[in-house]
Every structure is written in C-alpha cells, then in structure tokens.
C-alpha cells in the first residue's frame, strides 16, 4: 500500500504502483486542476510540487512519491492567493487557461528557490512549460510581479 500526503491529506493506493501520479490525482482522487498535456514531461501542464519542488506528475509514478508530500494547484494556497496566483490575475495572464495551473506551480517553485530571479532566470526557469496561446510575455512579467511586487 502506497501512502502519500496530497494537499495535506493522507491518501493511499493499492493499484498499479507504476501508475503516473497525474492519473492518480486526476482520475482516482478527482483533483482535476492538474492537467494532461503530453505525458512525456515535455509541456509542464501537469506540474505539481513533490516535497516542495516542481515535478512533472505525468512521468512520476505513484510509487515514487510513497511517503512524500504532494501539493497540487488546489492546495497551493487555501484562498488561491499565493503571490503567483495574485500576480497572474493582476496581469490577466491566461488566455485559454489550460496550461496555467502548471505554469503557476512551476513559477511558485522557481520563486521558492530563487527569491528575485533575473529575466533570464525567469525565462530559463519557465522554459519547460508550454503555452500554446502564447501568454509568455505576461507570464514573465507576472513572475516578476510575484517576486518584487512590480
């Protein structure tokens, strides 16, 4: 039996241990805020935090997170007011919005590691997350706002 804490709640899984965490979250737990975009860690739509760091849940097996803490977009902040979430709203970042949970989780992880990233650090840190609508200009600006307030 695999045990994992998801958004602070104990969860268990006795099915296929190789099941990607993405599908455990979405289909078994009903936490559908985490999105499926590629299944190969190429787009970042499925980004969650494992032990506080961004991870691609589509290539992370449930067994890989046994005993660990996973945070999804639903658990990032109780009221949805993480500085990254607020900055995203302030700058009207999303278009279709599908990739944004992954973008936000990636940005939150980036800022947890690098308090005040340079433009190049933002672009480098966010380069694993694709936005097909092309919100990049605002994503970059919003990460900066989340970091510095401006």
């Amino acid at each position: 039996m695999i045990k994992v804490k998801v958004n602070g709640e104990e969860r268990s899984w006795d099915g296929d241990p190789s099941l990607p965490l993405l599908w455990f979250l979405r289909d078994e737990l009903g936490l559908v805020g985490t999105k499926f975009g590629c299944g190969q860690a190429l787009c970042g739509a499925c980004t969650v935090h494992v032990a506080g760091t961004a991870a691609r849940s589509c290539i992370t097996a449930v067994s890989d997170v046994d005993g660990q803490e996973v945070v999804t977009i639903e658990g990032l902040h109780p009221q949805g007011d993480h500085p990254v979430q607020k900055a995203w709203r302030e700058l009207n970042v999303p278009q279709c919005g599908f990739c944004q949970a992954g973008q936000i989780m990636q940005a939150a992880s980036l800022l947890a590691e690098t308090k005040n990233p340079s433009d190049d650090e933002i672009r480098g840190g966010m380069a694993g997350n694709i936005c097909r609508c092309g919100c990049y200009q605002r994503i970059e600006a919003a990460v900066r706002v989340a970091a510095t307030g401006t």
């Binding site: 190969q40 977009i73 639903e74 278009q95 944004q100």
Partner: protein, 774 residues
Amino acid sequence: MTYFQDLSRQAPEGPSFGPVENVSRRGLLKGVTAAGGLVLAASVLPRRAMAAYVTGAGDMPHGVVTDPRVFVSIAPDGIVTIVAHRSEMGTGVRTGLPMIVADEMGADWARVRIVQAPGDEAKYGNQDTDGSRSTRHYLIPMREVGASARTMLETAAAQRWKVPVSEVRAGVHEVVHDGSGRRLGFGELAADAAVLKVPAAETLRLKDPKDFRYIGKGTVSITDLHDITTGRAGYGADVRLPGMKYVVIARPPVVGGKLVSFDDAEAKQVPGVERVMEVRGWPWPSKFQPLGGVAVIARNTGAAIKGRNALKVVWDDGANAKYDSVAYRKELEAAVRAPGLVVRNDGDAEAALKGASTVVVGEYYLPHIAHASMEPPVATALWTDGKIEVWAPVQSPGGTREDLAKTLEISADNVTVSPTLLGGGFGRKSKCDFALEAALLARELKAPVRVQWTREDDLHHDFLHTVSAERIEAGLDKSGKVVAWRHRSAAPSIGSTFAAGATHQIPIELGMGLIDLPFAIANVRCENPEAAAHTRIGWFRSVSNIPRAFAVQSMVAEIAHATGRDPKEVLLELIGPARIVPFSASVEKPWNYGEPVDSYPIDTGRLRGVVELAAEKAGWGRKLPEGHGLGIAVHRSFVSYIATVVEVAVDKKGVVTIPRVDTAVDCGTFVNPERIYSQMEGAAIMGLSIAKLGEVSFKDGRVRQSNYDDYPVVRIDEAPRVTNTYIVPAAAGTPPSGVGEPGVPPFAPALCNAIFAATGKRIRNLPIRDQLAV
C-alpha cells in the same frame, strides 16, 4: 463549422425563423426560474437592421437570436445571469459577449453571472466559434438583447410608479424616476418585467457609445480568471461522472486505413484494464466521423494508455499508404511551375510578364502544421434511455449536436451538448470526431465514458493545416514598377475532408489572400493547380492566409531588394492610393469572409494606415545593432487589417532571437482591447512557431511526429521579448471585424523579411529551423 456551411451544415428546413416554444433551459438556470425571475418562453427572431452596417450573421446556419428572454435572467436578489452561447477557447468571448449585454442594459458587472449555453441553435442562433466572427456578428445583436432587457425593466418600473415610461431611465443596476427620486433595483423589477412583451426592435434605443461603461474600455477581466488560477476552471477532461470508464483508442495510423485484427491478451493483463473492443470507423472522407480502431477501457486513463501500449494491432493502410512528404513536395512544386485553373484574371499578365524588363520569381513552400492545443481532444458522454449527453471542448456545440444525432440516428431533441472550457482550439475543436467517439462508446458500454486523446493521438490524427507551394512572378517595367503579377497556389483543399476527389481550393480558401490581392497592378493572374489530399485537411487559425501572406509579403520585399528600394515604400506603392478595391469581376465566387462588401469593403486606406502606424511605432529605418534587422508585412484577413514589424537578431551561429514586435491592428469598432492585446501577443508566438519550428511530415502514410519533442512549439525562452500592439481607433460606425486569427498571417513574412535585412539570406521555405545555421 461555418466557413464551410455549404459543405458541412444543411440549412434548416422550413421557415428559418419560426417561433420555438419554450425550449427547456436545462439545469443551469432552474434556480433562477423557480425564484420567479425573468425567464420566459423564447421566440426566435431574424436579425434586424439596428446598425448602419449589415454583417453576414444572418446567413449563418440558424442565424441570430436577439430575444432577451433567451440570454438574460434576473433573480429577485438582483443577480443578472447572462448566457454565453459561444465557446471559450482563450479569446475571451465568453466574457466579451455578455459584457456587451450588461453594458447596454445597465447591469453592474459585479452582479452579473455567466452561464454557458448548451448546443441549441434553434434557441440561441448560430454557435460556431470560428472564423473570428463572434464579436463582429454579435456586437449589435447583444446590444439589442441588452436594450430590450433594459426597456422591459424601465417599462415595469413606469407601470409600478404609474408614470410615463419616458420619465424613467435605467441607471446602474436600477431604474430611476428623476422627478420623484424613486428608484427600484433590477431584482425588484424582474418579476414584473418578465411578463411584459419584448419590445419591437425598431423601437429600441441603443446607448450613446460615450456612455459605455465596459465596451471598449478593457477594464473587465475574463470571467474565469480566478478559477483558472486556482485550478477550478472546467475543461474537457474535468467532468467526472459516477462509474465513469476511462478510454483511449488505437486508431488507424493512415487516413483511409482500417482495422484488420487485434490481439488484446497482454493489454487485458494490465492492472486496471477492464475491456478491449473494436470501435466503428467511417471511410475517408466523411467530414468529422471517427476513424475507428480499438478501444481500451479502464478504471483510469493511465491504465488505459498502458493497456493500449500492450495491444497488437494489424491495420490495412488503404489508399494513402504511400503518402510521403518529400515526394509530395516535389509534386506541389512541379504543379506551380505549370499553368493551373485560372481563378482570377485581370488584364493580360502573360503578355505583361513577357514584355517586362525584369521578372522577379519567388517560390515558397509551407508544410502541414498541427494545432497542438495544450488540451488534447477529449470528451465525456452519458447514454441514458435513448438520450445522449456529451460534455466536450467543442468550438461548434450546435454542429456537434447535429452530428451526434446523425451518427447515433436519434433525434436532436435527445442530444445534449454541454461545452466545457476549451484548452485551446485553433480550429481543431470545430471537428467533433472525439465527441462522436465518446457517444458511440457510451451507448455501447451503457456506462459513462471519457475518451481521452494523448498528445501522440492528437498529432497523428489531426485535421491538419494544408501543405502548400506558392509561386509568384512579378514583372517590372524599366522604372521598377510592377506591371504584372502571376500567383500560382497549390495545396490540398479542406474540401477534401467533405468530398472525395476534391483537388481544387474552394472559394473560401481562394479568398484568403489569393484572389483578394489588393495591389494596384494592372495585370494580375491567379491560378490554382490541382493538388490531391492524402490526409485529413482542416482549418487552422487563419487558414490559407498563412501561406498566401507569406508568399505575397515576402515577394514585396524581394521586389524591393531587386530594385534597391525600401520594402515599406514598395509595399505602400503596391497597395496604391487609399481607395475601395472591388473584387475582380473575373472571380467566379468571391469570398469576403461571409460579409457583405458594402459593410466590409477592401479598403486600402485602412491597409496603408496600419502599415504606417506599425512602421512609425517600430521606428522603421532606425539604426540597428549589427546582426539585427527590421521586416514588415501587412495582411487583410477576417476583414481586419494588421501590419507587423519584427526586429530580429541573428547571431554568428545563425541563432534567431526577437527583441521586439510591433503590431498595428485595425479591427473596426472593438469591445475588449485588453483581449485584443492578448490575441496579438499570442499571434506573434504562434506565428513564430509556424515560421521557425512547425512541420508535420508523412512517411508511408503516417505522421512522423509524435509529441512536443519532434513537433516543437515556441517556448518562453525563445519568444519575442516584447510585442507591442497598437489598436487603430475606430471611426464612428465602423463595423467590428476579426481579432482571433488575423494577427497570425503577417508574422512569418515580417520575420523572414527581417532576417533578410539582417543577413541577406532569403527564407522561402518554412519552417526556418536550421536554415540559418553557420
């Protein structure tokens, strides 16, 4: 789908606009209805001429509905609920159209709720969210809806106070009697207003635009913003039903192929896999019908994918088994070097080319591209007692409903289509094959079903953007003036998805940048050589404008180079003086994006205007660092005018970066400038993906790319550093025009013109990829 209404949608039988009694509002508004709000039986009315201009909205399947009782309900507590009847795929339409209603009726946006309409065009009018049409077709109808609701509320208040209606007026979310200072909130008036007659359209008063609170301001954020940032927004795969089965399907790898046999022994051993079964496919072409194949049904998507990986399937590849992009490119290039079907012929271009002192020739090639929206196709279906309900990210909820009814051979009354948010669309999700798959399986399994496409499925089975060869010959006289223009364009047509053997472009494709060339050239000849399709061709954001704008706007810069002149000056000279350019009389079926030319003429004054504006803002002619270059391109599409200037930097290894993009947009009267900016920023990114990276190619009939590793799209680290957008203020009464698509076409030629300016290397084949590598 309605670029192609003549192909894909039957006109409604009988009277188009007869009354429809009390179409059930379904669950969404029940609470409001029960509370006695303004929700009544609906009648469907034709489009009335309220504005100084006429659009093509009335010619769309099921036309336009402007009955306020269809779109607006008001609860006693004052909450105004407005129906969004078009699909949200990132353009902001789900916010923009209700915002128009709210502004016109005087509703306070903070007290407005938006609900999404199910697919029901008899009730809501046309719902096809494509063709960059929603705002241009619905600005006036949505204002009529709002004005009617406001009038009914004012009338209710006047009756309550026993004063003439002329003495009352709607303020913000209330009606006021200035004489006595009495006021009543919309909620207090809702029940009385609900029983009033809908005012005749001719009697409606529209607000003076100077009194708008939301329209044109750009102060309203999209309604789903908070939900998107907290993971609560509902997309296609986010609907969960009790007992739902998770399905992936192995489909024939070659279009026109079919299943021969399969071995599911190993697949069934995968933990969580419950069943494997054949699913029905339709022969090609069959519009949007499913390809068929083998379905793996499991307790979660991960198990279904793993089960599919373990399947052993034998396919019969059929007639397209030899489709090979290398060989096909040679066919297309040969086709444009020989005469083809003449689709426009002004003057005598043949003779003028022969007599020209110089002929500049450009051949351009653009490969297939895939939509690759972040959300792959997905649908959820529930079959109950002969009725189907489908939740899916579809651009065409009404068309999807019709296709479901036909496919399942049931009445449309027994079909419910609830559009979710779309995780991107770009034209792919106008084709509802994935929804049909889910519905067929739900009926077969007698269980709720989710069919999930993987990214590999998405790339392997897309309705691809066409592949094209464009050849332009420009004949110049001794002074360098262009006196002849022959443009041959060969590409498999979207028509081939609807009818076997279609080898010529259909009018809407010809009208996207070929026969509508607005240049002041006496002798113009456009030809369309034959091109057979060997895969499913569909429409991709801005469609045929992509190759045509690339060819035409590259050629302009090539002429400038050949004559030693400034590309912007040559561009303006070719456009000629400000004037209205009629469609050539030689064109059999001119296409003006479905719009009447009286309201939406080809106006070279506006074309020149955006060129001048973009050039001025970009600092055209400014001194640039070494390795940098500026390029310009302009294109009219979706009846909007957009010019783009790209500044490029090419380093010594040939790596391209883009410090800056300046785009000028003339889209007439506009509703939400904030979303116009976001569309232009996104169009530059998508344009860059097309120019630099995008290519789907075939070998042995199969798509060679599978995921974002071999079908790369632009990421943040290679995106333009900044895209500046300038919106041309609309002259009073200028009709609104498209925004979602027309930003895309000018980008690639502007970029390649900039690369030429920076390096002297002319890119004629897309994508650029490593063509500049040193």
